[in-house]
């Protein structure tokens, strides 16, 4: 190639192509077959797609950093958002984008609130919510499943769990969508950053009085817990609590919403599996895990190398970026028999829909509980799931499997 020619990229290097966005399993299969640790010239980093390599990457937090405000991601992020003060201030406190010791400190404070045992006390409330929402879906020709069920259930659960008034849920959704555009690195950056800055300001203004109130009047909610927690003599600052409450509202509904929606699409494609679930509710737990494997809401997450090392035969250099694609790992034929088939009785099923290692999804037990209860109720009320949306469209992002809308006919 001469120096005057524009760089010619392999079509597989477009992480936001129509195929990558709307048919990810097919796209990732091509990458995995070509090279499970593939150098993507255009993204300027390694794209990791085999089960073993993705797991190894997630577990190696000693060498692979999550810090978005340092290393190669930091250079880009700082240059793009440094003039947006609210975004800078609050996003730089998101514990998901931190390494030890801040990340460890934060996990120590919140972990015990999210154990399977801790979230279990919330099950009756989730059951009640699921019943109430499902009642409104019965006897209709068409339901906007995305808005009416998949959004409403998780946003209500996470806001109640945190102690945020759920009346604000529709405002929260609007703010979240603007933040999602940044968090999930979608294109068209400048306009979205401006909107993200305004949304961050609104959501922070909304959270701050709640956090201040819990300082004086603690309740049995997660914000109170964060405000009053002390680990090794250190407490979180007011802005730390606000930032991470914002993160949890966001992380607690967007992902679960897409998991529920993706799950219903999977069952529409596999009516035999829906019948199987209807006939045997003891499959609820394995069905939930299978939906996380088959079409989980998080496609991949980025890391960067703090030092050079060898990784599955590749020489990773300091500051190299790695994209760990759990969506691809969960379809790896070396790990799963018939990986592209939905099998709600699949055992074992050690999928990595929630990631692995220190950053494993904090809300995993809560998400599981919500999906289990949703499937229990929906499968008993409806004999068949039919997708009415003519062409399912997903947001064009590297990180999220984010559906734009889903209309269903739920047959009684």
């Amino acid at each position: 190639m001469s120096s005057t020619t524009a760089p010619q990229y392999n079509e597989l290097d477009n992480l936001l192509s129509d195929e990558a966005t709307n048919r990810p399993a097919a796209y990732y299969k091509k990458l995995r077959d070509l090279d499970p640790v593939y150098w993507n010239e255009r993204w300027n980093g390694w794209v990791v797609t085999s089960y073993d390599a993705v797991i190894a990457g997630y577990r190696d937090s000693a060498r692979l950093s999550s810090d978005r405000f340092a290393g190669p991601f930091g250079v880009e992020l700082q240059s793009s958002i440094s003039k947006y003060q609210q975004l800078m201030n609050f996003m730089s406190r998101f514990f998901v984008w931190k390494d030890a010791p801040f990340h460890t400190q934060m996990r120590l404070i919140v972990n015990s609130a999210f154990t399977p045992k801790s979230v279990e006390v919330f099950r009756p409330r989730v059951q009640q919510l699921v019943r109430e929402i499902t009642d409104t879906l019965e006897g209709r020709d068409s339901v906007d499943f995305m808005t009416e069920f998949a959004f409403t259930l998780p946003v209500t659960v996470i806001t109640e769990f945190l102690g945020v008034p759920s009346e604000a849920s529709h405002d929260v959704r609007r703010w979240s969508e603007d933040l999602a555009a940044i968090i999930f690195s979608a294109g068209d950056v400048e306009n979205r950053l401006q909107k993200g800055e305004e949304s961050m300001k609104k959501i922070v203004d909304f959270m701050r009085p709640i956090v201040r109130d819990r300082m004086k009047n603690p309740r049995e909610d997660l914000i109170s817990r964060m405000v009053h927690a002390e680990e090794n003599g250190i407490r979180l600052s007011e802005d730390d609590v606000i930032a991470n409450a914002v993160l949890m509202v966001f992380a607690g509904h967007d992902t679960t919403m897409n998991l529920l929606a993706g799950g219903m699409i999977a069952f529409a494609d596999y009516p035999d599996q829906w019948q199987r679930l209807r006939g045997d509710l003891s499959l609820i737990k394995s069905a939930t895990e299978e939906l996380l494997r088959y079409d989980g809401p998080v496609r991949s997450l980025g890391r960067w190398a703090k030092e050079p090392f060898e990784f599955f035969g590749k020489n990773i250099k300091e500051n190299d970026r790695l994209l760990l694609v759990q969506y691809a790992a969960n379809r790896d034929p070396d790990t799963y028999e018939n990986p592209d088939k939905l099998d709600i009785g699949r055992v074992p099923n050690r999928h990595i829909g929630f990631g692995q290692g220190v950053h494993t999804c904090l809300g995993a037990p809560l998400a599981r509980l919500e999906v289990q209860e949703a499937l229990s109720c929906l499968s008993q009320r409806f004999s068949k799931v039919e997708v009415l949306t003519e062409e399912l469209k997903y947001d064009s992002t590297v990180v999220a499997r984010s559906l734009q809308g889903l209309n269903l006919r739920l047959h009684s």
């Binding site: 972990n111 154990t115 399977p116 929630f354 290692g357």
Partner: protein
């Protein structure tokens, strides 16, 4: 919760539940390791405190680690 030297406390990892997430290994280094199947195994001879082991149990998204106090 007493110290790790308390002989009446045992740590159990359920292999029905463990998904090899490896949170415990990060929260209490040395107290847990992964076996050939990628599942966590408690290492009784480690020098971790009960507080760290409790933190590892709390961090497990599968709820696979239980701290059992026997009479």
């Amino acid at each position: 919760m007493g110290g790790a030297e308390n002989s009446k406390i045992s740590i159990e990892v359920s292999h029905d539940l463990c998904a090899g997430v490896a949170m415990c290994i990060q929260m209490a280094p040395g107290a847990f390791s992964l076996d050939d199947l990628g599942q966590s195994v408690f290492q009784p001879d480690s020098e971790r405190t009960m507080k760290e082991i409790q933190q590892a149990a709390d961090s497990c998204p599968m709820g696979a680690i239980t701290i059992v106090e026997s009479e």
